[in-house]
């Protein structure tokens, strides 16, 4: 989230799209009801199904799965054509005036530089025009035909209301109503928040779905404002922590990035990431990249990391490609990866295309599961009749179950969607032989190290040198690890402007990332977490909920990254002179000398507004980007591509170009391409989702959850049920190109047939929570149906859009 859960109460308008907050985040959803009750806020829900969020919405509109960019692109066009944009904001805080290279082009869904064989782009033309001073050329009058404003207008001119209705199936009157409501927040005294989740991300175009929403918010001046923002609702209580701490295969902690195969040179690796300002007087915060990176390496390899060995840069793997889960399962399936430690994850249930996973796991030599529960994954070799129809005698994979503690049986911090690190305390002793993940990983490390010591091995230096300074090396404590990710001074740290001024004594915890250095004098395991455990103690354990301004910014409650800031980009809530655009939403302001207020300024605290520093300090431009330059794999502006399982033969936005029916750079493996569904065989459009009564594949093991939602079902509209002669409550078979499931049919008015490109399209809803283990009635794994096509940027699977065929069981 750019903002935070409590802040939703400040919204005038709430758009829930690509998520279902009432269903999947009922506790967070309370802030929507607060906004409605105390702020007269209106709630809009756009979703393929009339869902639990829609049940309390002021306006609901249906949409075909996978067409969000068309709806949002149409909205962008509507805002631009009707000039419903926050002018002062857009002109000063975004790249609208920036001039783009003449070589940059877009035609029939393809941007300049496409290479069909490699399914990728040469992005060199996707850039600004630079002047002789090294800065981007701009035209503040916005008249230049190549300025971002005019390119944006041109790009979305094709996204008309008629096109939106034709592609999304959303009725025109609903489109008009919703767009006008949203446009009303372009004024300085009204603000909209967007709440989204995996309904926007689990697509082959997921990253661009999110970007489209962010662009709408920028046009309206709703980013950085209390009650506004782009708010990703995380589907797992600590999934925010997962990405923060660098568990994505191409990331290092704190969104630092692993070097690629061609980045063997340390200085070049750093230079590429140490971005210099693209406009005068801009902060370009990533100029500090070396400080964060060197401190990370000191945290990992301690004394072994020195300036002479480039702080152990050679110890880092250099990626030839992303090794995300889809890649890993593909490699297993090809027999090229044959061991698997599966920690706190149930991919047989959670990852797409169950059939492929069973095949992949069957080729492994061993699989280890670290989990509090007996998962379907570690039981993949068991025959459970039609629900898991395998022959155990043919599977040679050796499986090991290491029972772990659950979150409630250990101390630690969980990072929520609001970026708050909230410390929690053990509530119960773990049962039986369960041990914490830290303990298990620690023992694994010691055993591997001992084997190297005994037998030797090629290049085991990274393991040999790993810093392991815990009071009990066998069992590092969560507290020690938390202090480690906060970071500390290894030598006295002085003020760079005044060498006589001591900033931090050697051995002390740093107070924040501003104290980190690139000379090896500091260590920090995750720079964005610096400040979480300072000399003053564990900041994550704070529980002061006082809210003097009433705006909900309780900065004494837990600790938020970065720097305990609650609303990111909050400098953008003030005009160019430093005054809040809307006094009743004041977060920070310029008092003539410094920036301050009820939030931690996301800005240089002493930068005079007259100096013209932009509020988006992480971008070298200092402003937010409509034109993503090379930041996105598909192109600088989000463009609609059909899901790979699409009911259409042509992309209505680029009908002449067959390459752009689907995302031309989506990550696809040949084995998955062979399993794409076609509408003649699989005529119905389906999507998968969660229900309030359950949490993923955990709570089917719980009796209370199973009582409230006991048996697998699929939701189908009345029209489709009538067409197929399916009575409510009867059993149906739902098949896709990847496999089939059987479940109870829930015939409902909440899913309506849509008119798409002149034909009737029925949508089907498939809740995910059942499996062949647990207290609930046994069911099929819903991901039997989904496909493993990945988003071109994040490799997130396209689990939300599948073509299926529904029939009587």
């Amino acid at each position: 989230m750019t903002n935070h859960w409590v802040d939703i109460k400040n919204a005038d308008l709430i758009l829930i799209m690509g998520g279902n907050a009432a269903e999947a985040h009922p506790c967070g959803f309370k802030w929507v009801t607060e906004a409605k009750a105390h702020n007269k806020a209106k709630l809009i829900v756009v979703d393929p199904r009339f869902n639990r969020s829609a049940s309390v919405a002021d306006v609901y509109a249906p949409i075909r799965v996978g067409t969000d960019i068309v709806f949002l692109g149409g909205l962008i066009n509507h805002l631009l054509v009707n000039d419903k944009i926050q002018h002062e904001y857009v002109l000063n805080y975004t790249d609208m005036s920036f001039i783009v290279k003449d070589e940059f082009a877009f035609n029939e869904g393809l941007y300049s530089g496409y290479n069909a064989d490699k399914r990728s782009y040469d992005k060199s033309s996707w850039d600004y025009v630079f002047g002789e001073d090294g800065y981007v050329k701009t035209d503040p009058t916005l008249k230049h035909p190549r300025c971002v404003y005019n390119l944006l207008k041109q790009h979305y001119a094709r996204y008309t209301v008629d096109m939106v209705e034709r592609v999304c199936g959303t009725p025109k009157d609903k489109i008009a109503l919703i767009w006008d409501m949203i446009a009303s927040t372009s004024t300085k005294d009204r603000v909209m928040t967007i709440m989204y989740a995996l309904g926007w991300t689990q697509h082959s175009i997921g990253s661009q779905n999110v970007r489209s929403g962010a662009m709408v918010q920028l046009l309206l001046g709703n980013i950085g404002i209390a009650g506004g923002g782009m708010n990703a609702l995380r589907g797992h209580s600590n999934i925010q922590g997962l990405t923060d701490i660098g568990l994505m295969s191409d990331l290092l902690p704190g969104y630092l990035t692993l070097p690629k195969q061609d980045e063997q040179d340390y200085k070049a690796y750093l230079a590429k990431r140490t971005q210099k300002p693209l406009r005068p007087n801009q902060m370009a915060y990533w100029q500090n990249y070396p400080k964060f990176h060197v401190s990370l390496m000191k945290s990992w390899w301690g004394d072994a990391a020195t300036a002479d060995n480039n702080w152990c840069f050679d110890y880092l793997p250099k990626l030839d490609k992303p090794y995300d889960m889809l890649q890993a399962y593909e490699l297993m399936n090809q027999g090229k990866m044959n061991g698997y430690i599966c920690q706190g994850f149930n991919p047989l249930a959670s990852a797409p295309n169950k059939g492929k996973l069973v095949s992949a796991f069957s080729k492994l030599k061993f699989m280890v599961s670290m989990d509090p529960l007996e998962t379907e994954t570690i039981s993949f070799w068991q025959n459970h009749g039609a629900l898991n129809d395998v022959d155990p005698s043919k599977i040679q994979t050796e499986v090991f179950r290491l029972p772990t503690t659950s979150f409630a049986e250990e101390n630690g911090a969980i990072v929520n969607s609001s970026r708050w690190l909230q410390w929690h305390w053990k509530g119960a002793e773990p049962p039986g032989e369960a041990r914490s993940d830290i303990e298990i990983m620690s023992e694994l490390f010691h055993r591997i190290k001992a084997m190297y010591v005994k037998d030797g091995g090629a290049y085991w230096d990274p393991i040999r040198d790993l810093a392991w300074k815990y009071s009990n090396p066998e069992v590092p404590t969560p507290e020690e690890i938390a202090m480690e990710y906060n970071g500390k001074a290894l030598a006295d740290v002085h003020d760079p402007k005044d060498a006589t001024k001591l900033v931090r004594k050697a051995g002390e915890q740093v107070a924040g990332f501003a104290e980190l250095r690139d000379d090896g004098s500091t260590a920090c395991g995750c720079w964005i977490y610096a400040g979480a455990w300072t000399q003053a103690g564990n900041q994550m354990a704070r529980r002061d909920n006082s809210d003097p301004s009433g705006i909900g910014n309780t900065i004494g409650w837990a600790w938020a990254w970065p720097a305990n800031r609650r609303v990111m980009y909050n400098r953008a809530s003030c005009d160019t002179s430093g005054k809040p655009f809307d006094p009743k939403r004041k977060l920070i302001a310029w008092n003539g000398k410094t920036w301050g207020g009820v939030d931690v300024p996301d800005f240089s605290p002493t930068s005079d507004p007259e100096d013209g520093m932009g509020p988006f300090i992480m971008n070298p431009e200092g402003v937010a980007r409509f034109f993503a330059r090379g930041g996105m794999a598909e192109g600088p502006f989000p463009e609609h591509y059909e899901p790979f399982d699409t009911p259409l033969a042509k992309n209505p936005l680029s009908p002449e170009q067959p390459l752009t029916l689907n995302n031309p750079i989506a990550r696809v493996f040949q084995s998955d391409l062979a399993q794409i569904g076609k509408p003649d065989e699989f005529p119905h459009v389906a999507t998968t989702y969660r229900l309030t009564e359950h949490f993923h594949f955990w709570t089917k093991h719980g009796l209370l959850n199973s009582i409230t939602q006991p048996e697998q079902f699929v939701e189908i509209g009345e029209a489709l049920a009538k067409e197929l002669g399916i009575p409510n409550g009867s059993r149906v078979r739902v098949s896709s190109k990847r496999g089939h499931i059987e479940a109870v049919a829930m015939v409902t008015k909440r899913i309506k047939a849509l008119q798409i490109d002149g034909k009737t399209v029925h949508q089907v809803g498939i809740p995910i929570h059942w499996g062949f283990l647990g207290a609930a009635k046994p069911g099929y794994l819903a991901n039997t149906l989904t496909n493993a096509i990945g988003d071109g940027n994040s490799q997130t699977p396209e689990s939300k859009c599948i073509l299926v065929k529904v029939e009587k069981a």
Binding site: A37, E693, L704, Q709, V744, K777
Partner: protein, 300 residues
């Protein structure tokens, strides 16, 4: 005797005075269920099961979100989901938390023939004291909202207690405590009516002209009330009765038939007495004895 039983204003089937030393000095209580804020998450159902140590069976899906399918001795509250297409053609998903309404004039208590099996406290809560229950099911007939259920296991009647055990120690009901959206609130009946009025004003501003409070007069008002978007059509909410009244059978039982029955008993006794006094006791003669012997001999 539980302490909350010291403020009983009514007990079933007894005219004995109830212990009333304690009073409801903070006034009558009420739970307000704002159907328009409810997202049907069923947290209230789970909280109810947890607090009361109830575990219904893992049932089946019958094509509805309602699970368990009905109230039972193990499910004292449940969400009922109804799909309604309004005259504008827009869909509404009306989700109502069902359970005991705690009527001011409780039909169950009136119908109950077992002394002290159903009581009403001074704060308005209607509670079942199952140790006195004989399992006759009259409370089921007596309830205008079809709420009490007889256990198949112990043949006693069960329903929501409004967490009388929690309330007696100053806690709100478990469902109120857990509700994530604040759709269920608890307080004095007056405060709840006031809160409802604010909610109704908000709903009217959002186009629900018929929004209103459900506190039906036919049962003397209730201590569980609903805020409805369509107060003019309560039956849209999975059959919430439009004008609930205590069944005529209960009226008959407690109104006319009870005194009539008493009269009949007295009349029989009086007739017997008069017969004895006027005609004397009935006696058998030899002919009667002989007939009886013949009957006995016929028996194999």
């Amino acid at each position: 005797m539980a302490l909350q039983s010291l403020d009983i204003i009514r007990r079933s089937a007894t005219t004995l005075p109830a212990p009333q030393a304690r009073g409801a000095h903070a006034g009558e209580v009420a739970k307000l269920i704002d159907v328009t804020k409810c997202i049907g998450c069923k947290a209230c159902q789970v909280a109810c099961m947890e607090w009361n140590d109830l575990r219904d069976e893992v049932g089946t899906c019958t094509g509805h979100y309602d699970n368990p399918h009905d109230l039972s001795d193990q499910s004292w509250t449940l969400m009922r989901f109804a799909e309604y297409e309004n005259p504008k053609g827009d869909l509404e998903w009306l989700i109502r938390k069902d359970g005991c309404m705690h009527c001011a004039d409780p039909g169950c208590l009136k119908a109950c023939p077992s002394p002290g099996a159903i009581v009403q406290y001074a704060n308005g809560i209607v509670d079942f004291h199952e140790e006195n229950c004989i399992g006759c099911g009259y409370c089921v007939t007596g309830c205008p909202f079809n709420v009490p259920r007889i256990s198949k296991k112990d043949h006693k009647a069960y329903k929501c207690t409004l967490c009388s055990d929690r309330i007696s120690v100053g806690l709100e009901p478990a469902c109120v405590k857990t509700c994530p959206t604040g759709a269920i609130t608890f307080g004095s009946k007056e405060a709840m009516q006031q809160h409802a009025a604010e909610r109704i004003e908000d709903l009217k501003s959002r186009g629900f002209d018929q929004a209103g409070l459900y506190d039906p007069a036919g049962v003397g008002g209730t201590h569980v009330m609903y805020v409805l978007h369509h107060a003019d059509q309560p039956q849209l909410y999975s059959g919430l009765p439009e004008n609930p009244k205590i069944s005529a059978m209960v009226g008959l039982w407690k109104g006319i038939s009870k005194p009539l029955g008493l009269l009949a008993i007295l009349a029989t006794a009086a007739a017997g007495f008069l017969h004895y006094v006027g005609i004397g006791p009935n006696e058998t003669d030899e002919g009667d004895e002989e007939a009886a012997r013949r009957e006995l001999e016929k028996t194999p």
